[in-house]
Subunit: 204 residues, 2 copies
Amino acid sequence: MKNNGMLVILSGPAGSGKDTVIAELFKSNFDITKSVSMTTRAPRDGETDGIDYIFVSEEVFLKSVKNEELLEFARYGINYYGTPKAPVDKWLSEGETVILKIDVEGADNIRKMYPDTVSIFIMPPSMQILEKRLRNRGSEDEEDVLRRLKIAVREIERCKDEYDYVVINDDLQDAVDDIKTIINAERHKVSRSSIFLSEVFKNV
Amino acid sequence: MKNNGMLVILSGPAGSGKDTVIAELFKSNFDITKSVSMTTRAPRDGETDGIDYIFVSEEVFLKSVKNEELLEFARYGINYYGTPKAPVDKWLSEGETVILKIDVEGADNIRKMYPDTVSIFIMPPSMQILEKRLRNRGSEDEEDVLRRLKIAVREIERCKDEYDYVVINDDLQDAVDDIKTIINAERHKVSRSSIFLSEVFKNV
């Protein structure tokens, strides 16, 4: 069934395992397009420019901000991250399903610009498991864990009012399947089926 | 994931094949509850009272209407058909997914009483195929076929404004799978997940 393009936002607190879920989603042969973020941070081992991120200088990044070429951007620590607008608009106009991994704040901005965005919140199975996952990272001290937990609680609270769907990341494959199910269902929304409906109607 | 109950409306014009789709949906082991309609028409061969329909006299039916015990009712020819309210409310309070097969007019009434109803419109793949299907029934004369086609066009037009999802009944199994996908996705709606969310939150 031919459809209009669809913008899908995936968010979730640190420790929800969203990065693993999204990586697994893209490894499958599901018909979606990944939006590539622009960042000023240095590439890590194994990362490819234009695939994992578009790696740019701070000067180039800030010029993109000034020229309103980014859908949203944020600064974490000393690094900027942002979503280039032009490729997203191109894919949507071609009927693609475009996936954005984005935080709760960025999601809010995207929804204002694309009101029919589908938003999915990836949730840990319980607060205890979230805490355990944050501690198991090892790289973070007690204060950092508590700070991240507090942020997670705030984000989960916002999820209730701001997100369309919630997916519990208890089992990785189940979570990936749930996201596919949601996208497949959204493709049947009457509001997204204008192209198809016009096919049925053309001979009425 | 434990959820609130969910009411799902299935509609579609004569010739869309909705009866076959719904029968197939119920034959599968999918976790849904079928609402049984009340009717004044006589049972056909193989139909069981309380399973296919609740068969009642016109007197009993009209008493149910008067006592406001029906969610909706309609008269086709000389027979009344209606949906008893009490069992639907009971199933919903128990967290069940309740399926109602209902026409476009009845759907409108249900949505007013249960605003978070999910509505799915089953569509023929094309108007030509709809026409062919109506003619192949054999039991209907030319005038009847044209009358049903006109009604179908009116219903399809209303679908665009009034239904949430559209499922094309081109291949029977695909159509059944599409309905399951939609119901599974709706079970992940944040707005339906209050029971689960309270579980995650209880230790925050």
